[in-house]
Symmetry: C2
Subunit: 346 residues, 2 copies
């Protein structure tokens, strides 16, 4: 009876690949290979494993795999609406890269990066092989990923306390170069249309602009709040001109959409010559920034390289376990468009 | 021994909510409610169910649920890159609506709608509660959804053979109204920058334009191939002008991005007065079409309403099983922008 009790005890758990291996008289890894597309396995082994799997009602679908081997072929993408609405190519690019590895994106979008705890509690209800996190994580949330042994890569975020896997674009350096070249072009009075409060990237950009202006001993910029969208560029410019009584020399916008709204407002509503009377710059290098009606002077993030790096890091970890954490930092490049008088780099 | 054999036999299957209900002495639906956030259940029942679940190692996570109750809280979105790259708001909107119902989008993007079979074979490897399909399905593929009892809604596609659940915008009618109003505005010589071969929506739009021109006894349009992107608008206009030796009266573009590229090329490269010398129109009503540099005359799809309708139909089916198939058809509206001389509707 003891054996039968043990069997009941064991069978009360889900049938695993180990049970199938035991019945078929092969190793567990042989069973795994039978259910992996493209993996090498002999015909005889395959037949025995399939027979055992059938006898035990072992279900080799993705959900069952996630319980048995903790592989679901799904990767969670935690991304703020601020990113997806204003730079939606990121989701498409990541989906394209990951599907090349047989992995599917499970999309978790949220409005405020502060909501990350609520989002994470939902994430844990799904079996995921890994996660891409475009939101601010604290040390406790990172610890939770590690406790659950879920590999993750931060996208355009980093942890101040220590190095975790992350792919970032150096926003502060990008801001530094942009301000330097505007200063070299003769601009002295700066205004800044900030991004939304909830965006870490926008904060990094604003801080970088202010820090470089201080270094150059120029007056601090007039800062107005924006929301990363087209309308806030126009609203921001009106607020700036109303406050100053005249246009400043340059308006630095937290992203390209804001800059395009600011530019259209300057030209169509204030009949300003851009860049003759006013320089306007963006951040991101979205496709629309290159359109003939804009040819925006901006700072381009190498999104293609960044999303490829995320894919490579995460798929490596999923396949081979965690390595040493690394942070890959990409440089932004200034796109010398038609909307600002830039001086040489210095 | 027979009982124990039966027990083993039964236990060899996964522990289900029925096993937990049996041990706890409650109904299966009471067990389900215990694992549904927000569902009503008494404290005493909850305690008994939790005790039984623990004894049987019943795992109420999403992957386990998908095996036990066939609910994973995941919905597959099958969508062409043509859609996501050129109208990416659709993914964000659907994600937002579905997450309000506790459902997550599992993203399947592909390049050619003809690849749908390969994509579907991947979809079936995941436990999904339902699917949104923005790709052309044939009767056999629909039958496969039905055989697997996976509820689905077609987005901007329909099945010619019979009514299946679908949310569509009437593209042919939209084209009819647009051509009518352009004709009423005095345009006689038309050109058309088509969408990519793989897009059903683009085909419907092109056919609608040609059909209405024929009805009005106007010459058929000069048709050039486009690719739904900004660059193909400029390329298309150059090809049209090279072929005709002069601009036509109106260029109808398969979508807004193409129209914006065409417009910028007309103004910046050919110094044409739009709409004085040439009318240019789009389709979609994307946010950029409203920007001050464009104010594009276009045909707006009610995307917000359409994505809400998809969400409502699919979540109803997931909760309550399949009802009678229905097709919800939304009308497009002409946006009277600044890039075409439109006459009155007739």
């Amino acid at each position: 009876m003891a054996d039968i009790q043990a069997l009941i005890q064991r069978q009360a758990r889900r049938v695993t690949s180990y049970d199938v291996a035991s019945l078929a008289g092969v190793s567990q890894s042989a069973v795994s290979r039978c259910f992996q597309p493209g993996a090498s396995v002999s015909k005889a082994t395959f037949a025995r494993v399939m027979e055992a799997a059938k006898a035990l009602d072992y279900t080799p679908n993705a959900a069952a795999r996630s319980l048995n081997t903790r592989r679901s072929n799904q990767v969670a993408l935690l991304v703020s609406n601020l990113v997806t609405l204003h730079y939606p190519e990121i989701v498409t690019e990541l989906s394209r890269h990951f599907s090349g590895h047989g992995l599917r994106i499970l999309l978790f979008s949220f409005t405020d990066e502060g909501d990350i705890d609520r989002t994470l509690s939902e994430v844990w209800q799904h079996q995921i092989d890994g996660a891409i996190v475009a939101a601010r994580l604290g040390p406790q949330q990172v610890a939770e990923f590690e406790r659950r042994a879920v590999p993750f890569v931060l996208f355009n975020r980093h942890l101040r306390e220590r190095v975790v896997n992350a792919v970032v674009c150096d926003q502060a350096e990008a801001a530094r170069i942009l301000v330097s070249r505007l200063a070299a072009g003769g601009h002295r009075r700066f205004a800044l249309i900030e991004g939304p409060r909830g965006s870490v990237v926008a904060q990094d950009r604003s801080r970088g602009v202010s820090a470089r202006l201080a270094q150059l001993k120029l007056a601090p910029p007039l800062i107005v709040r924006g929301n990363y969208d087209y309308d806030s560029g126009a609203r921001g410019l009106r607020e700036i001109i109303a406050t100053l009584g005249a246009p400043p020399d340059a308006v630095i916008c937290a992203n390209d959409l804001t800059a395009m709204g600011c530019l259209d407002c300057a030209r169509h509503d204030f009949q300003l010559d851009v860049p003759g009377q006013l320089s306007i710059t963006g951040f991101d290098g979205v496709p629309q920034a290159g359109w003939l009606s804009y040819r925006l002077t901006t700072v381009r993030q190498p999104v293609e390289q960044m999303t490829l790096a995320v894919t490579e890091m995460l798929t490596d970890m999923i396949a081979g376990g965690p390595g040493r954490p690394q942070q890959r930092v990409f440089a932004a490049t200034v796109v010398d468009g038609a909307t600002a008088r830039l001086g040489p780099a210095f």
